[in-house]
């Protein structure tokens, strides 16, 4: 006889631990436990049998793996949290006693935990980390746009916006943006970095208010982790791309709301190889290179033994670490008036060569854009520069524009306002207007998603835009809004000529027939089952404007068809009897979801029919 088995000594009772048991075991508060769980990525589990895991009780409880909790017990962060608890007590006592000096020294020696080891544990390889930065990026971009308040110190916001800018810089530098989608929630971007697809959502530029039912502490804990994670990920990405991390920030530009432009990408090899005293210094102030004379002076001043004694007065605001690069000498722009199309500021030959050429990442390379001031500069700067275009903006949208509105090289103006007839236009302005193409912002995104330059006419200023579709696709067999309108779609591409009027009309004339037939088919198919269904279908057909005689015929046809089908169906139904219970349930489940999808699809199709019919009516009336 084997040893007697005692209840609760093995199996699920031992493997799982409830949350309150876990906090008791770790001797920490619930808030600390939550923080630990967030940082370590520990989440509750669902035991197969709740009763076995919870001593026979079936009360709703969250369970954790006992081993997860056992690992947590040795967590350095937990130790620090305990230290912090003691510190908080000491500090409050010192403050209560009015012992300011000891309070100050306590505050100076405040226990601070680091999350490096957590990052390493959770993401043993770089790819693991890269795969999981979607949420991190969303949070960083959200917090970069939040207003600061006592709970959100400005330093935090600043750090978030710095990380956001660093990510955008990297994406622009590596040309890895693939898709973008303007949704009602914000802008979705999808990039492909090291074969990992990364999607993130950036809110539109509006002030967000934190709702009262959101626990900011939870968000801040996540943010803490995400900042560290992104720091390490960016470090790796930048160093792999041969860049210096963190990229130096031009404070003056940053104050002028230059956004991404305030950062400069530095080549790591050159900066480490060249000694700062002997290298030439390239200084960028407000987007322009200062003249050679200044550079000479600076070199002179740097040559002297005191490195902080600066020759150029502008340098005072610069980083104390001089930015030095010899190798990038050739990339420095020489602002010359004769050259109408200067190269893009960030596109270097080197970076272009390293790019994989499968996707047309230099889609906008031949074009120069100018942003009208009502469009969002950070968004379009990022989009256009990610695809190799040059972009400028008016001074009201922030500093750092490489050229102004009067620049001759501008080919497109991204404009998002209705056409207003302005009588007092100078000749020069009119001429300029005729040379440039005014497009609405959706054109940029649609071009990116299509992978080619679309015809600008459909997106011209003041025109009704074609629908903006998700580039991420839907589930298989979902309703496809482009299916019927394919003919029209083709016309939009550059290679096709502009669609002629009569062609369009033909399409319109063709469609009603097919549409009506489709309605008829759908409706008649619905009418086969019972009298009630028949009546409903009749009504629907009438609403759709189908000829009643035609309807009758269609119903008869479909009924006949159904009859032949019924035999097979009955056979199938009978075969269902022989399914086991498990299989039957699975089958029902699958059928349910299938039916739901089909219904959704049919609903959308029916709606489109109706919309098209109304549109036709309208055009008819207009024509008459």
């Amino acid at each position: 006889m084997g040893r007697l088995r005692q209840k609760g000594k093995a199996g699920a009772a031992k493997a799982y631990i409830t949350r309150s048991q876990a906090t008791k075991k770790l001797q920490c508060s619930l808030a600390d436990f939550r923080r630990l769980c967030i940082l370590k990525g520990i989440f509750p589990r669902e035991p197969n049998n709740k009763k076995k895991a919870n001593k026979g009780s079936s009360a709703p409880t969250s369970f954790y793996y006992a081993k997860d909790i056992a690992y947590l017990a040795h967590e350095p962060v937990l130790k620090k949290l305990r230290e912090h608890k003691a510190f908080a007590k000491k500090l409050s006592r010192a403050l209560g006693r009015g012992e300011w000096s000891s309070a100050k020294s306590l505050e100076e020696n405040k226990p601070v935990y680091k999350l490096d080891h957590v990052i390493k544990e959770r993401y043993p390889t770089f790819i693991d980390a890269l795969r999981d930065i979607d949420d991190a990026l969303c949070m960083i971009f959200l917090f970069a746009s939040l207003p600061s308040n006592p709970r959100l110190p400005p330093s935090l916001i600043e750090n978030c916006s710095r990380l956001a800018a660093e990510w955008q810089l990297y994406i622009m530098h590596s040309r890895s943006l693939r898709k973008a989608f303007l949704s009602i929630k914000g802008v979705y971007y999808q990039a492909e970095v090291m074969d990992q697809t990364i999607t993130w959502l950036v809110p539109y530029q509006f002030t967000q208010n934190i709702p009262s039912d959101v626990d900011v502490r939870v968000m801040l804990t996540f943010l803490e982790l995400y900042q560290t994670l992104l720091g390490f990920v960016f470090f790796k990405l930048y160093t792999d791309a041969g860049l210096v991390y963190p990229p130096p920030l031009d404070l003056k530009k940053d104050e002028g709301a230059a956004g991404v432009g305030a950062f400069t990408l530095q080549d790591a090899s050159s900066s480490t190889a060249a000694a700062p005293t002997k290298s030439k210094k390239v200084v960028e102030v407000e987007g322009r290179q200062i003249s050679g004379k200044d550079v000479y002076q600076t070199i002179k001043s740097l040559a002297s033994t005191t490195p902080d004694a600066n020759g150029a007065p502008d340098d005072t605001t610069m980083d104390s670490e001089p930015t030095s690069r010899e190798a990038e000498e050739e990339f420095i722009l020489q602002p010359s008036k004769s050259d109408p199309q200067p190269a893009a500021p960030l596109t270097t030959l080197k970076s272009l060569e390293t790019l994989p050429q499968t996707v047309n990442t230099s889609l906008f390379a031949p074009y120069t854009f100018f942003l009208s001031r009502e469009t969002s500069r950070p968004m379009f700067e990022f989009l256009v520069r990610s695809f190799g275009g040059r972009i400028g903006w008016s001074a009201t949208s922030g500093k750092g524009s490489p050229f102004d509105e009067s620049d001759e090289s501008i080919t497109h103006v991204i404009i998002d306002r209705p056409i207003v007839e302005s009588s007092n236009e100078t000749l020069e302005e009119r001429e300029r207007r005729s040379r440039r193409k005014c497009v609405q912002p959706q054109w940029v995104v649609d071009c990116i998603n299509a992978g080619k330059i679309l015809l600008e006419d459909h997106y011209a200023q003041g025109k009704t835009l074609p629908p903006h579709l998700s580039p991420f696709g839907e589930y298989e067999g979902a309703y496809d809004p482009t299916a019927l309108a394919l003919g029209e779609k083709d016309d939009m591409s550059v290679d096709g000529d502009s669609a002629s009027e009569d062609e369009d009309e033909d399409a319109v004339m063709d469609e009603p027939e097919s549409a009506e037939a489709a309605v008829l088919k759908v409706v008649a198919a619905a009418a086969t089952d019972s009298d009630a269904d028949l009546r409903a279908a009749e009504l629907a057909a009438e609403a759709a404007g189908v000829d009643p005689a035609l309807f009758e015929k269609e119903v008869k046809k479909s009924r006949k068809k159904v009859k032949s089908d019924t035999n097979e169906d009955a056979e199938k139904d009978m075969n269902k009897m022989m399914m086991s219970n498990k299989q039957k349930k699975l089958y029902e489940k699958m059928k349910y979801s299938q039916n739901k999808r089909n219904q959704e699809r049919a609903n959308l199709e029916a709606k489109r029919e109706q919309i098209q019919k109304q549109a036709r009516k309208k055009t008819k009336i207009a024509r008459d």
Binding site: P124, D135, P441, S470, F472
Partner: protein, 748 residues
């Protein structure tokens, strides 16, 4: 003694009180002395001393201590004496204000503020000392006079007689009349009640309240500093020992310790003030060194990507109609299939901020750390592939497909039976009518009317004879149908009513076999009847052994049970003395001498020849309703009121080989076709289901069960559908009787 008293009192006074000029104070002092002998003195001298001797003693001791000090003070300040005396004056000023209040004036001599009391007029009634005390016996125990008529002597030496005192009733009346009676006490000296003074009452109150009895005692008096404060320091050292060196030489060891730290700081081992850690975390190549072998946690699932409906400018069909929007608003946020309402904006500039952005991010984070994650294998299969592939019914013909005949009863047709030659059908209904009709044309040939319901009907399976058994309330009737061949008729008659009856085996049997006399034999009356014992109720089932000699019946009554009747010996016996549970159905095995007995939940198989239990089958049905055995005898089907049908392979297991649940209501009847591989089941949902059931002779192949056809045509009345189905033995035809009174014949 007076001086000492004054000293104690002085401690209780405020320090602010001031000195009085000498001469005046003396005068007051005189007054005081005389005071103490007065009426007040009586209590203070006499009673107080009696009652609080310890207080006095204590004050005495303190006085003795303070005397010396006061001398010192006197030396220092000349006015101190007067001071104290004047203060002693004020000690008589008790909280009850017996004496007039003092005035504070600036003294001419000291220039300090002092208190001056008004002069006391030595009037006649101001002093009680002149009054004669009535009794001068002195301070002696008064009980010495208890036996005497007098209580003492007055001033002249005459006896002071004991005043007359009333009895207890008088005393009580006095206390009632006199309102101050409760504040008076008996004075033994004068042998009379004496009202207590306010001072005495106050004293009593204080004692009662647990306070200090001295009214003038101030428990919160400020501390008098005797040894601390300016000018009161001890000048003389307590010991004459010389001052040790350590008091004035700095510690060597301390210096050593400090120097150790200093050296450490100089060498940089200790940082005096740690440089403040930079707020910016330092990043490095964390993935440069290899990671531990610990497997990484599973990555969290990514949120679904946005679809077309989330676009700022979706195709118009994605916008919700009013009804859809209303429905969206009415559903709970958790149940919505999408968390936003699709919107269409004509240009990007019009798109507002999304107000639920933070909330959605937060919900995602809640999912990340609070939602239990379960890894599920997602089946990416076509649901149709789950349906088992079975041979097509058309390849398994023949089986009944349509209704060829309908025979109508007036009420619920409970039972139906088909003759072994397949030509005749008998059906019985609730009114006791049994009809005989032709299977091929449905023409009714004969009708019998019995008292009470027809519970069961069965043809004898023998082919050389032809008769059937009808089960009526507590009786079984054996009936010979008309239009038989004369030979068959003759044989049947001799079988049922032989001229020489076999010898009765057991006369005590409660079951009687009766045959009417041969003169009364007609086609309308049964040739033979078996009277079951009273209380056995309606026979619900009649089943024949394949040879047609034995017949088993099951009765529904509370005393009912199972009987096996032997026709040749005209003998009935109960095979079981005691059966666990109520027997629902019984069956003879087609080959072996086995007997199936279905109770409510179990099917038991008995060997009749060996008389023992062979097997108990557990179908897992709550209540068994029907049972049939395959002609081969190796397979059994059991139907239940809980809609289940169980197929048992008797060679295989006690558990069902297959459990089917396809009827929507209770299964009523099951029947295997005797020759074709078919079986039918009928149910209360008014449906008959035909199955193809092929049984292979080798043990390795599983029986093939294929549903062939659903026969509809019976109507459901009072919740009952098709009550019995019977196959025609020669053809794949089926007869079914329903609760709607119809008996249908289904043909192929």
């Amino acid at each position: 003694m007076p001086v000492q008293v004054k000293n104690t009192k002085k401690r209780k006074q405020n320090e602010e009180e001031d000195a009085l000029p000498g001469p005046f104070s003396k005068a007051v002092d005189m007054e005081m002395l005389s005071d103490e002998e007065g009426p007040d003195g009586e209590e203070s001298d006499g009673q107080e001393v009696d009652e609080f001797p310890e207080i006095d003693a204590e004050s005495d001791e303190e006085d003795s201590e303070y005397e010396g000090f006061e001398d010192d003070e006197d030396e220092e300040e000349e006015d101190e004496d007067d001071d104290e005396e004047s203060e002693s004056d004020s000690d008589k000023e008790d909280p009850l204000h017996v004496f007039p209040k003092a005035k504070t004036v600036i003294s001419d001599i000291t220039g300090q503020p002092k208190r001056v009391f008004p002069e006391i007029e030595p009037e006649y009634d101001s002093d009680s000392s002149t009054e004669d005390a009535p009794n001068r016996v002195g301070n002696i125990p008064m009980h010495w006079y208890d036996d005497m008529p007098h209580v003492g002597y007055d001033m002249e030496g005459k006896r002071v007689l004991r005043p007359a005192r009333g009895d207890e009733l008088d005393k009580f009346l006095e206390t009632v009349e006199d309102p101050s009676a409760w504040t008076s006490a008996f004075d033994k000296n004068t042998q009379s009640d004496k009202p207590l003074t306010t001072e005495e009452l106050d004293l009593i109150r204080r004692l009662y309240a647990g306070e200090n009895p001295d009214g003038s005692y101030d428990p919160y008096e400020p501390m008098t500093e005797w040894f601390t404060g300016k000018g009161k320091e001890e000048v003389m050292p307590l010991s004459a020992a010389p001052e040790p060196k350590r008091r004035w030489v700095p510690s060597k060891w301390e210096k050593k310790k400090v120097m150790k730290i200093v050296r450490a700081i100089r060498q940089g081992r200790i940082l005096p003030s740690k440089p403040k850690s930079t707020a910016q975390p330092q990043f490095y190549s964390i993935w440069a060194e290899p990671s531990s072998s610990h497997p990484p946690p599973l990555p969290a699932p990514k949120p679904p990507l946005p679809t077309n409906s989330e676009s700022y400018n979706p195709p118009e069909e994605y916008l919700l109609s009013d009804a859809e929007q209303k429905q969206w608003e009415e559903t709970d946020p958790e149940d919505r299939d999408r968390d936003f309402i699709p919107q269409k904006y004509s240009s990007l500039r019009l798109v507002p901020g999304y107000d639920r952005f933070i909330k959605e991010r937060f919900n995602r984070q809640l999912d990340l750390y609070m939602a239990p994650r379960v890894q599920r294998v997602k089946l990416n299969i076509d649901p149709e592939s789950l349906i088992p592939k079975l041979p097509s019914p058309s390849s398994l013909k023949p089986f009944p497909t349509y209704r060829s005949l309908r025979f109508q009863h007036s009420t619920l047709a409970r039972c139906v039976a088909i003759s072994p030659d397949g030509a005749w059908v008998v059906s019985g209904d609730e009114n006791g009518i049994v009809s005989l009709w032709e299977l091929s044309v449905g023409k009714e040939i004969k009708k019998w009317k019995f008292e009470g319901k027809v519970g069961a009907l069965e043809w004898c399976p023998r082919t050389d004879v032809s008769f059937f058994v009808v089960g009526i309330e507590e009786t079984l009737h054996f009936i010979i149908p008309p239009y038989l061949a004369p030979a068959v008729h003759q044989l049947t008659q001799t079988l049922l009513a032989p001229t020489t009856l076999p010898p009765a085996l057991d006369t005590s049997s409660p079951i009687k076999w009766t045959t009417p006399s041969s003169s009364t034999w007609t086609d309308d009356t049964p040739l033979l009847s078996i009277h079951l014992p009273s209380g056995s109720g309606l026979p619900t089932q009649i089943t024949w052994h394949r040879r047609g000699d034995y017949m088993a019946t099951v009765s529904s009554g509370n005393q009912g049970g199972v009987w096996i009747h032997q026709l040749s010996r005209r003998y009935s016996q109960a095979p079981f003395k005691k059966v666990r549970g109520k027997v629902q159905l019984v069956l003879f095995h087609p080959m072996k001498p086995h007997f199936f007995v279905a109770t409510q939940q179990y099917v038991r198989i008995y060997n009749l020849s060996e008389q023992k239990l062979l097997k108990t089958l557990t179908p897992g049905i709550k209540w068994i309703s029907s049972l049939d055995v395959h002609p081969s005898g190796d397979h059994l089907i059991v139907g239940g009121y809980d809609r289940k049908l169980c197929w048992f392979d008797l060679e295989l297991s006690d558990k069902p080989y297959k459990v089917l649940r396809y009827h929507s209501r209770a299964i009523r009847s099951l029947h295997f076709h005797p020759t074709y591989p078919l079986f039918a089941s009928s149910s209360d949902d008014g449906v008959i289901q035909i199955f193809h059931a092929r049984v292979y002779s080798d043990l390795m192949t599983d029986p093939l069960i294929v549903p062939l056809k659903v026969l509809r045509g019976h109507e459901i009345t009072q919740g009952l559908g098709v009550l019995q189905v019977r196959w025609c033995s020669k053809h794949p035809w089926l007869a079914s009787s329903g609760a709607d009174g119809t008996v249908n014949v289904w043909c192929n």
